[in-house]
């Protein structure tokens, strides 16, 4: 670039960025907010998952292979068989129990090890102790530093746990020198087995193979010998499985955070497009003076890059602080309950840092590219003339690219998930959004033409102005349409989800009182005697008990949940919310099992199919007799008859029960009787259906709190966008307002005209945003949710909430338009008629 062009370039840059400080600042803020949210969410979820992986690695130690089965464990007779294999150097048996702390609603993972074996495989689990026998005692345990800190106990202190309905008190003998942030405890394997009723059962066998053997060959050989439901895998497969449980949630949250950045990009687009139009004649002059098209386009993209660099830097700093605050206030799972017991430190994460910095700059540059290309393409002679502005938007007018993009979006919505993630669902949403934005000039023309011309001069002029400049209307609306459509789609999805969840809870909670041995963990249960005592209480008319187990069907996935419960085949729909089936099981066919929607998606358990479930180490065939809706177990769940489960396993214990009151009895008195008459009854958790519903819906709202926050951020950015666009439009029309003031239009009338324009533009934005939002909500419900979490829901549109939001957005954008138009009413605007046209 020559010297002349260089100084001209500086002038143009200065003109846009410095002279329009407020709009430049808004663009920077929008990018900063998007980058901050994206970086913070990625930092938090990334750190939590990383911590989880470190924890799994730490617990696996130097193991080459791990043998795992149901969560309840498997027969320890398998251990000597594997230990004797010639390829195995050391085998270390492990019992894991998520033990419920008796005095609080919390669990602690207790890892039972054979200290002599573990020393060779998981040396990190061996704690320093003054008394070496503490490693072998059945009443002592060692805490990880994170556990000691969060539970507030140290060496010499005690912790009380619930086993069944009993209390088990264990002494803290020391700390495990673990440099991971996970909470866990280590004790002797026999101690865990005896204290938590797991005699003869183990959860895992960690194997260290002899040097030189091929791990995969040995793995395949061992797998062939294992009973059903037990699998041998490399430790890293375990990391993938534990990550996969929260992956969809994390990815969805990250995508939602990126939407804020995308909306910020649209704000930059609107601002740049209008700034380029405002400087159209100046830019044409640069072309006349000898600046090439490429130089001009590069210059304008450079403006975007500057906004991107400043915004990204600001966003990264704020995102880091935001992440620290969010983890402290709502936890590493951002309220969703996926990373209990994980307290990650949040490092700067250089890769995330680079990605989000690059993303912020890239989006700002891309947002500037379209206006830059348009400015470079404009014929200088025409662009120098007044009234050429709308021509700058002419390229947005053809409608076929918009329809084609929306069509491509619709096709993308039909593509199945990729690696368990709804990638094409997200692409579908992006394409629908971009397609609609491309169609906005047409939509604006259509809607504006449908409006009758008002009789009053100011609103009449306002409408005529908008009709004459649909391209400018469309550009101004980009950010607000994106934000409103996001708000509407999320509102519809969340309302559909909440109402469906509420209906589901009503269906699955038919009894008068529910009893649970422990809300969390797997050490609390109701023995057969406890169940009999509960059923025999005077206020109880009917009692049903349920046993929850976790089975391993695929080592690469989290365990599925097996629910063994009383089934009333005649009134099945009262117990399960069936969405498919029921299928009658043919005589002689395997017994029925009812699966949730996730089982259909993840394992192909379709109605009528005969499937095998590993129960008590045996592959037991079942016929899938129906599919039920389930909002609690996205990893998959199967219901079987409890009598059959008992016959197969001999396990008569239950994890929970449902009680129906006898005539004249009331729940409160029954609760008192349970506490008084059942041994350990005070440790039972009792809840009426209403309470469970309330707790569940509260948990739901907590999970979506972050979603609402991200949604709000996008709407705020959208309003910023409208304000910025409107300000730019008003600035570009100063001479028009000056002329109108000359010929007798009062300030109030100019204000009314601007308010009408603001109201009309926002109304168009709302109409387009609502239509697009509804479309996106269908993709969210039918594709993204279904593919991410494997649950379906009925569509419910929250009309009143949406109407309220529409009124608020309309009011805010009208006020925004008026505020942005203040300078149109100033004396300087009157004098602007003398400025060069």
């Amino acid at each position: 670039m020559g010297k002349l062009n260089l100084s001209a370039a500086r002038a143009v840059l200065a003109g846009s960025l410095v002279q329009n400080k407020a709009r430049s600042a808004l663009s920077v803020l929008a990018i900063a907010l998007g980058v901050a949210l994206g970086y913070a969410v990625s930092l938090i979820t990334g750190a939590a998952v990383n911590e989880l992986a470190l924890g799994v690695q730490f617990l696996a130690g130097d193991a080459d292979l791990q043998v795992r089965g149901p969560r309840g464990g498997f027969d320890q007779a398998l251990y000597p068989q594997l230990a004797r294999l010639p390829e195995v150097a050391v085998a270390s048996p492990v019992v894991e129990a998520d033990a419920k702390l008796s005095d609080r609603d919390d669990v602690l993972k207790i890892i039972g090890i054979d200290v002599f074996r573990a020393g060779a495989v998981q040396p990190g689990l061996i704690a320093e102790s003054g008394d070496r026998l503490d490693h072998l005692r059945s009443d002592t345990l060692f805490l990880s530093p994170a556990a000691a800190q969060s539970l507030g106990v140290d060496r010499g202190g005690t912790l009380a746990f619930q086993a069944g309905l009993r209390i088990v008190t264990l002494r803290v003998a020391g700390l495990v020198p673990a440099d991971v942030q996970q909470r866990f405890a280590v004790m002797d394997i026999a101690g865990v087995q005896s204290n938590f009723d797991r005699l003869g059962r183990i959860s895992r066998i960690d194997l260290r193979l002899r040097p030189g053997v091929d791990i995969e060959t040995v793995r395949a050989r061992i797998q062939a010998q294992l009973p059903a439901g037990i699998a041998v895998r490399r430790p890293e497969t375990g990391i993938a499985a534990s990550e996969s449980l929260s992956r969809s949630y994390r990815v969805n949250l990250n995508v939602l955070a990126l939407v804020a950045l995308f909306t910020g990009g649209l704000l930059v687009f609107s601002t740049q497009a209008l700034a380029v139009v405002r400087r159209r004649s100046q830019l044409a002059l640069l072309r006349v003076l000898g600046m090439t098209r490429r130089e001009l386009a590069s210059l304008l993209v450079l403006e975007g890059a500057i906004v991107g660099v400043v915004g990204s830097a600001l966003g990264l700093a704020s995102g880091f602080i935001l992440a620290q605050i969010a983890v402290r206030i709502i936890g590493a799972d951002l309220g969703a309950g996926y990373f209990r017991g994980v307290a990650p430190a949040l490092p700067l994460a250089p890769v995330s840092l680079a990605i989000f910095f690059g993303l912020g700059v890239l989006i700002a540059m891309l947002a500037s590219l379209v206006p830059a290309l348009e400015a470079a393409r404009a014929a200088p002679a025409a662009a120098l003339k007044a009234g050429d502005e709308e021509r700058a938007f002419g390229r947005l007018s053809p409608s076929w690219p918009g329809f084609a993009t929306i069509g491509a979006g619709a096709i993308s919505a039909l593509v199945p998930p990729v690696a368990g993630l709804p990638l094409f669902g997200y692409i579908a949403i992006a394409l629908m959004l971009i397609g609609t934005l491309m169609l906005m000039p047409r939509i604006a023309v259509m809607l504006l033409a449908a409006l009758p011309l008002p009789s009053g001069a100011p609103p009449r002029l306002a409408l005529l102005q908008l009709r004459g400049a649909p391209g400018q209307v469309a550009v101004s609306l980009a950010a607000i349409v994106a934000a409103v459509s996001l708000m509407v789609s999320m509102a519809i999805m969340v309302a559909s989800f909440r109402i469906s969840l509420d209906a589901w809870l009503e269906r699955v909670l038919p009894a008068d009182l529910y009893v649970r041995a422990g809300a969390a963990g797997d050490t609390a249960y109701l023995g057969a005697d406890d169940q009999a005592r509960l059923a025999a209480l005077p206020g109880v008319r009917r009692a049903e008990f349920q046993r929850e187990q976790q089975l391993l069907l695929d080592p690469a996935r989290p365990r599925i949940v097996l629910l063994a419960r009383s089934i009333d085949a005649v009134n099945l729909s009262r117990q399960l919310q069936l969405v498919s089936g029921p299928v009658a099981v043919a005589p002689g066919a395997p017994p029925p099992a009812w699966v949730n929607e996730a089982m259909v998606d993840l394992y192909g358990f379709v109605p009528g199919k005969v499937v095998e479930l590993p129960i008590a180490g045996q592959p037991i065939p079942f016929t899938v007799a129906g599919v039920w809706r389930d909002y609690a177990r996205p990893q998959g769940a199967v219901v079987i008859e409890r009598e059959r489960y008992i016959a197969l396993t001999g396990d008569r214990s239950a994890t929970g029960g449902a009680l129906w009151l006898a005539a004249g009895a009331n729940a409160e008195e029954l609760g008192q009787a349970i506490t008084r008459d059942i041994p350990g009854g005070a440790r039972l958790e009792l809840a009426a259906p209403g309470e469970i519903r309330e707790i569940s819906l509260r948990a739901f709202d907590r999970t979506f709190a972050v979603t609402y926050a991200l949604e709000l951020a996008a709407v705020v950015i959208g309003l910023f966008g409208l304000s910025s666009s409107f300000g730019a439009l008003v600035l570009s029309r100063r001479r028009e307002f000056g002329m109108l003031r000359h010929i007798g239009m009062t300030r109030r009338q100019i204000g009314a005209m601007l308010a009408t324009e603001g109201l009309t533009i926002s109304a168009i934005g709302l109409v387009a945003g609502f239509g697009l939002g509804w479309l996106i909500s269908l993709v969210l419900i039918q594709v993204v949710n279904r593919q991410s979490f494997h649950w379906g829901m009925e569509l419910h549109v929250p009309w009143s909430a949406l109407a309220g939001s529409a009124v608020v957005v309309l009011a805010l954008s009208t006020v925004t338009a008026l505020a942005s138009g203040r300078q149109a009413m100033s004396r300087r605007a009157v004098l602007a008629v003398k400025e060069d046209w």
Partner: protein
């Protein structure tokens, strides 16, 4: 009809500047005067003061029976709407309105009913030689035609006073001559008074009188 007496204007601020002092001017219906002067002498400021768009430091401006310096912004705006017409150098024709709608703007602000508006617009467009061009958009018009639209807009509501600030500054000589002829003709036909601010002697020659604005007042130009 227009009586300006002792009009004085200066600008405050970090570098205060006296623009002019003791300007007197009297116009009767049908009078058409040119105001000339060096750049920066305050010709446009004088027009802004007369139009009530700026306030003087001293002096009085009477239009008919109304003293402008005592009116508030709303009253001045209402007065401008009824009794003034403006023609600008840069035309200021709204690009999103048709020619007819541009011309009808003052009538629309006055709340004149549609049939009467249509009749007046048709008539004034015919008067400026744009018969049948009412539905054209500004982008379809030449500079000369755009200024004709601006003249039509300035006269459509029958103003008492037309203020024209360098109306031919953006036009070639031949078109300028046509526009000036038209402006004079229309002002005279409608019985209005007119003030033409210009640098051009040729343009000024189309007026009845030529006045020279100086820092100390408005005087007849030496050659007039």
């Amino acid at each position: 009809m227009l009586v300006v007496q002792g009009l004085t204007k200066s600008y405050a601020g970090p570098r205060p500047r006296a623009v002019f002092a003791d300007v007197d001017l009297e116009l009767s219906p049908g009078d058409y005067v040119a105001v000339m002067g060096e750049s920066g002498v305050g010709k446009s400021t004088l027009l802004n003061l007369i139009a009530g768009l700026d306030s003087p430091d001293r002096g009085s401006i009477r239009l008919g029976d109304v003293e402008l310096t005592t009116l508030d912004d709303d009253a001045l705006t209402a007065l401008r709407r009824e009794r003034f017409g403006f023609v600008f150098q840069a035309f200021h024709v709204l690009p999103y309105l048709s020619v007819a709608r541009n011309v009808a703007l003052p009538l629309s602000l006055l709340g004149i009913a549609a049939p009467e508006t249509d009749a007046r617009v048709t008539s004034v467009l015919a008067g400026v030689g744009l018969d049948g061009r009412g539905e054209s958009m500004p982008r379809e018009l030449s500079g000369g035609e755009l200024q004709r639209v601006a003249i039509a807009r300035a006269l459509v509501h029958g103003p008492q006073l037309v203020l024209a600030d360098e109306p031919t500054g953006n036009l070639d000589a031949e078109t300028a001559s046509q526009v000036l002829r038209l402006l004079r003709e229309q002002i005279k036909t409608k019985g209005a008074a007119g003030i033409l601010v210009t640098h051009s002697h040729a343009a000024a020659q189309t007026c009845d009188r030529i006045l020279q604005l100086t820092p100390t007042g408005l005087r007849p130009a030496p050659s007039s």
